[in-house]
Amino acid sequence: MRHRVCLSVNGKAEEFDVEPRLLLCHLLRAYVGLTGTNIGCDTSQCGSCTVLMDGKAVKSCTVLAVQADGCEVTTIEGLAGADGLHPVQQSFWDHHGLQCGFCTPGMIMTAVEILDRNPDAGDAEVRHGLEGNICRCTGYENIVKSIVAAGAGGTS
């Protein structure tokens, strides 16, 4: 049995017939063709696949594609605007907030939500907010620095 899913991905309307078991992360990668959303685990621990669904950061490996029906999804590819990089992206670049880059899309999407909740989030709040995202390269030090700086207006 297949289901029709209509959703907006990065502002563009998309429509697919999918199996009910299809995960949102696979819909984005294989159907929409947006491979920026990486998959790093199968138990919803790593957060690499984090996207924004109706403005909330969700792990797209724990959302069925059918659950995203009618939703607005933003992926890492949809973050930069016409005027260039999103401030969080820019801050990750400025503060060496990434190494291999694999967890980065999920980190950035989570960071957007952390700062959406509190633009002045400090070190401890950011570390707490990243609890669901794993990075194996950076030791988190520069990720935290990137996010705090982006919140403070990217001026640090």
């Binding site: 199996e19 078991r21 299809l22 696979h26 990668r29 294989a30 947006l34 491979t35 920026g36 959303t37 990486n38 998959i39 790093g40 685990c41 199968d42 138990t43 621990q45 790593c46 690499s48 992926t75 890492i76 590819e77 973050l79 930069a80 990089l85 992206q89 990750f92 670049w93 400025d94 060496h96 990434l98 190494q99 291999c100 880059g101 694999f102 967890c103 980065t104 899309p105 950035i108 070190d123 401890a124 950011v126 570390r127 707490h128 990243l130 609890e131 995202n133 794993i134 990075c135 194996r136 390269c137 950076t138 030791g139 988190y140 030090e141 520069n142 990720i143 935290v144």
Partner: protein
């Protein structure tokens, strides 16, 4: 010298990663692609008595199902081991097993299907009956009398025995010692857990008979060599191996894995492009794992605290098969490091490499060196306790003095340069060590369990002189290639055999090349990870890319400059000795007359137009160098960690972490700091949270990220990084490796801090990781439970 080396140039590779444009293997997709899934053994040791693939093969969307026999009949060879110490017994390691599985996760059958979901369903539909066989999982227990044999032909499960050092001096040291401290410890199994699970993709061109393989490898050229010569049998000239963006490796992506054979073999069989992407669970039970030593050791000293001897015996768990470089890690990268940063005449170590029904063990960040550092640094702390000495003070007393470099250890290595006393003094100063100790005394007075851990650690990085590697058992050389191709417009392409999977080579190697040639960094592009574009290379591991790969580029740049200089002199109608190559300006000019000169771009163009060349000079401006290092380099570190252990929950809270490292000259301080920070957190993970554990019957108990606890963002409050620089005389850049030092030092730094905190409770040793449960048990056992 130069505009770029020594400065924190922002990474040129970042824009694609921060915008979701990383080119990972899992992103490779072709029309008509088949998706490969692999049936894995749930048993650690068993005979396959029946397998039925018919239901799977009949499923709609399944393209083909293959068994181990199909791969064998189809010409696939077994996976070889590339490092053999004398008398190594190597078990056969088939691509897909035919009759017997030896660890949980062993490959049993392969499905190719129209979608990954169908492939996963088909794998479930394959029926396999297993007759369980006895298992062994313990590194030392594997050699016990009557232990089950992993491979019947390998007696005692002992793959090899190896020893190094001055045994006579060692025995003398213990015979004459005033004090001896002993320890028995486990360096626990770790699972590397790069965030990108392994993956492979392949495309077969039937017309040209060319195979392209994309793989998550740290070293595509050696993989091509192994595929061609041993496992897949396609000539190297017809085989292109590409490692595009790779999402972390930490050693686990060095090795040649079955899936790198399975995927291209399937692609050719079915005549369609093929792709396999590991699930995390698959990665945890098939990526080569790390560490897993059981060690008994003792340290001899005089009553004034002078170390005189170290005697070590280690059982190193190699898992069910020998992974590509497995025997190297506990031999030439472990026993050789047992002298630490200390002057000790009598160092002797022996190791037994044992086979068990567990996932193969090979290099994981640090690879042998963390095992040595943890052992030595725990012993030094025990010595300090025995002598009633301050542990930092005792380390400074025994450190190799800077005037003794180059320093020959009793365990083969010739240390290049260092100033360990200054290193420790810098760490002590940065941490306010005296203040920390005063605060500790105060905290203890208030009933707190406060501890301070200090270490001084050594690493051997930048492997390796090829002849030395060969004499120690390597089947390959460890030089590196670097090609500089100057295009007619003066743009520069740099082709390196090193591979970046997070280290930032596209930036640092561009810094080196730009400075060497005197061109803007924007005009330099670094190409890596593709056997179709780079002539050859040995890849990245052992913190070798700057030392060896960077040096190869320096050699090529020297040759480019020499040719450009000669061409410039000719065009300026001056004698060669009357012109100079100005590396600041990227320009050849007449000495004393900067105006009479030609820019790099003009000379590059002239080299390609070839209208007016010096007598005998060939057109073009393209140089390849193969650099074989004269020696390893020896980075060092002193880290200081301050912790509180909660007397209610027994959780460890890190209050401060100070890392002072000497990685020689630094090309990009921002990137080096990032390497140290990331390395430290991996080392803290080993100390506090991570363990790859098996049940007695060989079940992997930490097969997902639910059970295998990698550090999260809130494990540390932050890391304070500082450094000193003693340039390595062993390479033209003066660099030492920076990738592993943090990991090596952090585990003993944290362990020493926690055990220092628990000292008042009579606890002197706890096996890692130092979880609340383990700490609580140790405190109870010491009779001090609250």
């Amino acid at each position: 010298m130069g505009r770029y080396v020594g400065t924190s140039v922002k990474r040129v590779e970042d824009p694609r990663f921060i915008q979701g444009k990383g080119r990972y293997v899992a992103n490779i997709q072709f029309p008509d692609m088949v998706y490969v899934a692999i049936k894995r053994s749930p048993e650690a040791h068993a005979r396959i008595t029946r397998m039925d693939t018919s239901a799977a093969a009949a499923m709609d969307g399944v393209v083909a199902v293959f068994t181990g026999q199909d791969f064998k009949d189809g010409g696939c060879g077994s996976l070889p081991c590339g490092w053999l110490v004398p008398d190594t017994k190597v078990p056969d390691r088939p691509i897909v097993v035919t009759d017997r599985v030896c660890h949980v996760g062993d490959s049993v059958a392969v499905v190719a299907a129209r979608t990954p979901y169908i492939a996963a369903d088909a794998v479930e539909a394959i029926e396999v009956d297993y007759e369980p066989l006895p298992t062994v999982v313990d590194a030392r227990g594997a050699m016990d009398d009557g232990a089950p044999l992993v491979h019947a032909e390998i007696e005692d499960n002992a793959s090899y025995h190896w020893a190094l050092g001055d045994q006579e001096a060692c025995e003398k040291a213990f015979a004459e010692a005033d004090e001896v401290v002993e320890i028995e410890l486990v360096n626990q199994r770790l699972i590397p857990t790069a965030m990108e699970p392994r993956a492979a993709a392949a495309q077969w061109d039937a017309a040209s008979e060319e195979m392209t393989v994309w793989t998550t490898s740290q070293n595509p050229h050696p993989i091509r060599l192994l595929l061609s010569a041993f496992t897949l049998g396609i000539p190297e000239s017809k085989l292109r191996v590409i490692s595009p963006d790779v999402g972390g490796g930490f050693g686990s992506k060095i090795f040649h894995y079955p899936e790198e054979v399975i995927v291209p073999w399937v692609a050719r069989q079915v005549g369609r492009p093929a792709r396999w992407v590991a699930t995390r669970t698959e990665s945890q039970m098939t990526d080569s794992q790390g560490r897993d030593h059981v060690t008994v050791a003792r340290l001899a000293m005089t009553s004034d605290g002078t170390f005189t001897g170290l005697d070590v015996e280690t059982w190193a768990n190699q898992g069910a098969y020998l992974s590509t470089f497995a025997p190297l890690i506990p031999t030439a990268l472990y026993i050789t490091l047992l002298s630490g940063n200390y002057k000790m005449p009598g160092v002797f170590g022996k190791v037994h490499g044992t086979l068990t029904n567990t996932v193969p063990v090979d290099a994981y960040r640090g690879a042998g060196r963390p095992e040595a550092a943890y052992l030595v640094e725990r012993l030094v702390d025990l010595a300090a306790t025995r002598l009633g000495r301050d542990p930092l003070d005792l380390r400074r007393q025994n450190a190799i003095p800077k005037e003794d470099f180059p320093y020959q250890t009793p365990v083969a290595f010739l240390y290049d340069s260092g100033d360990y006393d200054r290193l420790m003094a810098t760490a002590a100063d940065r941490a306010d060590y005296a203040g920390m100790r005063a605060a500790q005394a105060e905290a203890r007075g208030e009933g707190k369990l406060r501890g301070v851990g200090v270490v001084c650690c050594i690493e051997a990085s930048g492997p390796a002189p090829s002849a030395v590697a060969g004499s120690l058992g390597s089947a390959v050389g460890f030089w590196e290639s670097g090609e500089i191709r100057v295009h007619p417009t003066g743009q520069v392409s740099v082709f390196t055999g090193s591979h970046s999977h997070g280290q930032g080579h596209e930036t640092t190697l561009a810094q080196v090349a730009a400075d060497e040639l005197g061109v803007p960094i924007e005009s330099v592009e670094v190409v890596h990870g593709d056997t179709g574009r780079i002539n050859f290379g040995m890849g990245t591991y052992g913190s070798r890319s700057a030392c060896v790969g960077g040096s190869a580029l320096v050699r090529s740049a020297e040759k480019v400059r020499a040719k450009v200089l000669k061409l410039g002199a000719h065009l300026l109608e001056a004698a060669e000795e009357d012109v100079v190559y100005d590396r600041e300006a990227g320009r050849v000019h007449v000495k004393g007359s900067p105006d009479r000169g030609k820019d790099f771009g003009e000379l590059a163009f002239a080299a390609y137009t070839a209208h007016n060349m010096p007598e005998g000079m060939e057109p073009g401006l393209n140089v390849v160098s193969f650099y074989d290092p004269a020696n390893f380099t020896f980075p060092a570190s002193s880290h200081i960690c301050e912790v509180d252990v909660c007397p209610d929950t027994w959780e460890v809270r890190i209050l401060r972490y100070v890392a002072v490292d000497d990685v020689g000259k630094v090309i990009n301080p921002m990137i080096v700091e990032g390497q140290i920070q990331g390395g430290v957190v991996q080392g803290v993970g080993q100390a506090l949270t991570e363990i790859g554990s098996y049940s007695d019957d060989g079940q992997l108990l930490s097969g997902t990220l639910l059970e295998y606890a990698v550090p999260r963002a809130d494990l540390l409050p932050g890391i304070e990084v500082d450094r000193i620089e003693t340039p390595s005389p062993h390479n033209p850049l003066g660099v030492k490796g920076a990738g592993e030092m943090g990991t090596i030092a952090a585990t003993p730094a944290v362990a020493n801090a926690v055990l220092d905190a628990l000292a008042p409770l009579g606890v002197s040793h706890i096996e890692l990781p130092l979880t609340p449960e383990r700490i609580w048990r140790a405190v109870q056992a010491a009779g001090n439970g609250a």
